[in-house]
C-alpha cells in the first residue's frame, strides 16, 4: 500500500501531531466554555425541522467530521410521507379545491 510506505518513510509523528492539533483545538474550545458550533447547529437544525414534522428520534442520524480547515456536519432525518405535517387546517386540501 502506497500510503503505508509513505508514512513509514516520513515517520508517523507528523500525522500524530496533526491529529492532536485538530482534536485539541476542538476540545479546548468545548471544555473552556466556548460553544461547540457543531453541537449548536445540530440542535438548531433538529428544532427547526421538529417545528414542521414530528421527528422520530430513532430516524435521525448525525455525523460529524472535524477537520483542520473545514468540518462537516451531516444531519440525516427521515421524514415519513404519510404523516407529513402537524396539520394546521383540519379539512383535507383536495376537498376545498373541488368545492371552489
Amino acid at each position: 500500500m502506497n500510503l503505508f510506505n509513505f508514512f513509514k518513510r516520513q515517520g508517523t509523528a507528523p500525522v500524530a501531531r496533526d491529529r492532536l492539533q485538530i482534536l485539541l483545538a476542538y476540545e479546548r474550545g468545548s471544555t473552556r466554555g466556548a460553544p461547540d458550533l457543531l453541537a449548536i447547529l445540530r440542535e438548531e437544525i433538529l428544532t427547526a425541522v421538529g417545528r414542521h414534522v414530528q421527528i422520530d428520534s430513532n430516524r435521525v442520524n448525525v455525523r460529524v467530521d472535524r477537520g483542520e480547515k473545514v468540518s462537516t456536519l451531516e444531519v440525516d432525518i427521515e421524514i415519513p410521507n404519510a404523516v407529513r405535517m402537524a396539520p394546521r387546517r383540519k379539512r383535507a386540501v383536495p376537498m376545498q379545491r373541488s368545492a371552489s
Binding site: T12, A13, V15, R19, L23, V64, R66
Partner: protein
C-alpha cells in the same frame, strides 16, 4: 450469544486501551461483529487509538441519559463496518455513569454485536468496577513487572467479588494478557519471566504481546496495530489472542520482528 469482555488491569498505562483496540479489530478481522466501549470517563482515548476522534458526536453517558439513541452514538469503523466504537464522555462528573444505565446499554449492545469489549479505566474505583460489572469474560493486562503483577492480583480478587456473575455464584472467565514483553530483557533476567507471572497469578494465558515500536506507530496513525501492520509481531500476537478468545486452539508463541533484510523488504511490500 454475545460475550461481554472487560479489559482491565488495576495499574495504569499497561496497555488496556491498546489491547482493546487491537483485540476488537482482530476479532472483526476474523469476521466477528464487535463493539469496543470506552469506560474511561473524563479521560477518553480509545477514540484516538481507533482513529475516530474527529467523528465523536455522542458518548456513553449521553446514551444512558437518553440524550442520544444507541445507534446514533455508535461510530462505525471506516476500515471495517462490523467494528464499532462507543466513546466515553469527557465530563468531569464521574457519577454521571450509573450502574442501571450501563446495564441497559450493555444489554442493547448484546443484541447488536457478537462481542462487547469494555476498556476499563485504571484503578479500582467506580469506573473500573462499572466496566467489569456485567462482564462474562475478563482480560487482565499485565506487564512482567512487580507492581503490575500485584495490581493484577488485586483486580482478579475484585472480579471474583464485585461482578454480577460473581454475585450470582458464577465465575467470570479470566484470561491473562502479558503485554510489553521484552524477550531479551527476560533472558537477561531483568524482567519477570512468563512462567513466574503465570505461577503467581495462576490464570490462563491468552497471549504474549511483545514490546514493539509498531504499537506507537499504529497509535500515531489512529489505526489498531492489527490493521496498520498485520504482519508485525504485536499484530500477530493480538490476532492469535483473538482466535483463542473465540475458542480456537492456537499454539502459544512470542512473535518476534526478527526478519532478515530481504524478509523485511518483502514484509513491507506485502503490507
Amino acid at each position: 450469544m454475545a460475550k461481554v469482555v472487560v479489559v482491565t488491569s488495576g495499574k495504569g498505562g499497561v496497555g488496556k486501551t491498546t489491547s482493546t483496540a487491537a483485540l476488537g479489530a482482530a476479532l472483526a478481522q476474523h469476521g466477528q461483529n464487535v463493539v469496543v466501549v470506552d469506560f474511561d470517563v473524563g479521560l477518553r482515548n480509545l477514540d484516538l487509538v481507533m482513529g475516530a476522534e474527529r467523528r465523536v458526536v455522542y458518548d456513553l453517558i449521553n446514551v444512558t441519559q437518553g440524550i442520544a439513541k444507541l445507534p446514533q452514538a455508535l461510530i462505525r469503523d471506516k476500515r471495517l463496518e462490523r467494528l464499532a466504537l462507543l466513546p466515553a464522555s469527557q465530563t468531569r462528573d464521574k457519577d454521571a455513569l450509573t450502574e442501571e444505565g450501563v446495564s441497559r446499554v450493555i444489554n442493547s449492545l448484546k443484541q447488536m454485536f457478537d462481542w462487547v469489549i469494555c476498556d476499563s479505566p485504571a484503578g479500582i474505583e467506580r469506573g473500573a468496577t462499572l466496566a467489569m460489572r456485567f462482564a462474562d469474560t475478563a482480560i487482565i493486562v499485565t506487564n512482567p513487572e512487580v507492581s503490575s503483577v500485584r495490581d493484577s492480583d488485586r483486580i482478579i480478587g475484585i472480579l471474583d467479588a464485585k461482578t454480577v456473575k460473581a454475585e450470582r455464584g458464577e465465575r467470570v472467565d479470566k484470561h491473562l494478557l502479558i503485554s510489553r514483553y521484552d524477550p531479551a530483557r527476560a533472558a537477561r533476567g531483568e524482567m519477570l519471566s512468563i512462567e513466574d507471572v503465570l505461577e503467581i497469578l495462576s490464570t490462563p494465558l491468552l497471549g504474549i504481546i511483545p514490546e514493539s515500536e509498531e504499537v506507537l506507530r499504529a497509535s500515531n496513525l489512529g489505526s489498531p496495530v492489527t490493521f496498520n501492520n498485520p504482519s508485525s509481531a504485536p499484530a500477530r500476537a493480538y490476532l492469535d489472542a483473538a482466535r483463542r478468545l473465540m475458542g480456537e486452539e492456537v499454539e502459544m508463541t512470542i512473535p518476534t520482528e526478527k526478519q532478515g533484510f530481504l524478509g523485511k523488504l518483502f514484509g513491507r511490500r506485502a503490507a
